[in-house]
């Protein structure tokens, strides 16, 4: 009786290990980049990959899609990216905030680097250089999204102008803040 119990237990352990090894040996999804140069098709490929176990590669896929869109720039690309991000949010691949940040960073005139809940004297001025550096980087992404992907020249021009205005206004405001301390 005791021997039978040991035998059953051993069989169970062997089976479990076997199952575990088998699962380890299964091939992970390749998570290749989209093959199509057509944005619509590329988005479908990416969507399929993302839901097929490649969710961790979201940022790379997003970048791939931007590169593909740069090859065929048009105003409607903005909508395609918006819809893709809304889909990603609905699928739970990214949060609402990440979806917004991604969209606005590339396709909106406003700078996400200018977010903050405290007043400029206390919050922005002590980190003015960092804020401006982040804005400069974001402007480069806007150049890609607005100008190279969406042909929204007017939008990009305004973003660039806004950056310069913020730089000037912050210089004056922060000087005034410092003088009042």
């Amino acid at each position: 009786m005791k021997n039978t119990l040991i035998a059953v237990r051993s069989l169970f352990i062997v089976t479990a290990c076997g199952a575990l090894l088998a699962s380890c040996a299964s091939t992970p999804p390749p998570c290749n980049g989209p093959q199509s140069r057509n944005l619509e098709k590329a988005i479908s490929e990416v969507q399929s990959n993302l839901t097929g176990g490649c969710a961790a590669h979201f940022d790379r896929y997003f970048d791939d899609l931007l590169t593909i869109a740069e090859g065929d720039p048009k105003a409607s690309n903005k909508r395609a990216f918006s819809e893709f991000l809304v889909w990603a949010k609905d699928e739970g691949l990214v949060s609402q905030r990440q979806a917004k940040d991604n969209y606005n960073r590339y396709f909106n005139v406003k700078f996400m680097s200018m977010q903050g809940d405290y007043n400029n004297c206390s919050h922005t001025c002590p980190h003015r250089d960092r804020v401006l550096l982040n804005m400069e980087r974001e402007l480069s992404d806007k150049e890609r999204g607005l100008l190279k992907v969406s042909l929204d020249n007017q939008g990009y021009y305004r973003a660039s102008e806004l950056y310069q205005e913020v730089e000037l206004v912050l210089e004056a405001t922060c000087t005034a803040c410092a003088a009042g301390q």
Binding site: N108, V109, N120, L147, Q154, G155, Q164, T175, A176
Partner: protein, 272 residues
């Protein structure tokens, strides 16, 4: 004599006139940010008036300097400094130069006082309205305004515009203020910042310029004894002339956006 400093001193009235017009509009349209209350406007008006007086006085004396210099050159006095006639011309030129320095010395304290008043008033408004009452996001939204600005309209950013005839600069500023696109909160914020920074520099430079005038006056008084025209003197006169009368006409152009067809703006539900 610090010509750069003088350039900024001279640039102030043009900025001030622009602001006076802008603030008048601001009062009638009741903007959400109050950067130019009556006190600031009054300070600016006074600064503008003092600067204008200085400008007018200098314009006359520079005209005389011009004529004297021309006469000096036409009389082939360069290299003939020992000639008595040339020495007399050089002394006259030096006297006019001293007169120019005198006008500046006389006007600068008033200028310094009014510039400082304006700077301090603007400083207070900027700190309160943009520094303490706004988050960075609010500041950005103020600068953007409700509607995207017409990209063909001139930008209200004024810093660095020098070397232009003063009357032409006034005209440009007037046009800037008169155009509907510049009379909004966002351009007033830029304008206030622009003027404040300019006033800061001006204030500092007036102080330095006053020190320089004392030195230049002493040197020229010594030169009067020898009747020499120094290269420094010619440099100063040349610098002042270029500021008052402008350099060769140069078009200050603001780059337009690259041309391309822009389809109807798409608004994403993700947009902020």
């Amino acid at each position: 004599m610090n010509v750069t400093g003088f350039a900024l001193v001279i640039r102030a009235p043009a900025l001030l006139s622009l602001l006076l017009a802008a603030s008048t509009y601001a009062q009638t349209e009741a903007p959400t940010i109050r950067l130019f209350p009556t006190t600031v406007v009054e300070d600016l008006r006074q600064t503008s008036s003092v600067a204008k007086e200085m400008e007018t006085g200098l314009q006359e004396v520079i005209g005389v300097l011009d004529q004297q210099q021309q006469l000096y050159v036409e009389s082939k006095c360069e290299g003939a400094e020992e000639d008595q006639g040339c020495q007399r011309l050089a002394k006259q030129l030096g006297a006019t130069y001293l007169e120019m320095l005198g006008i500046m010395e006389e006007r600068l304290p008033d200028m310094e006082h009014t510039v400082n008043n304006t700077r301090l008033s603007l400083e207070k408004r900027l700190r309160s309205e943009l520094g303490k009452k706004m988050t960075p996001w609010m500041l950005q939204e103020t600068l953007l305004g409700g509607n995207p600005r017409d990209v063909t309209a001139p930008s209200p950013t004024l810093r660095g515009r020098s070397g232009m005839r003063l009357s032409e600069r006034f005209k440009q500023y007037y046009q800037l203020v008169a155009s509907s696109n510049s009379q909004t909160d966002q351009s007033l914020a830029v304008l206030a910042s622009d003027i404040y920074l300019d006033m800061e520099e001006t204030s500092e430079l007036i102080a330095r310029t006053r020190e320089e005038i004392a030195r230049a006056t002493l040197i020229e008084q010594l030169n009067q004894s020898f009747g020499a025209i120094t290269p420094e003197m010619m440099d100063v006169v040349g610098g002042v002339k270029s500021i008052l009368f402008g350099d060769e006409p140069s078009l200050v152009q603001i780059a337009g956006p690259p041309s391309a067809s822009i389809e109807k703006a798409y608004r994403s539900p993700l947009e902020n």
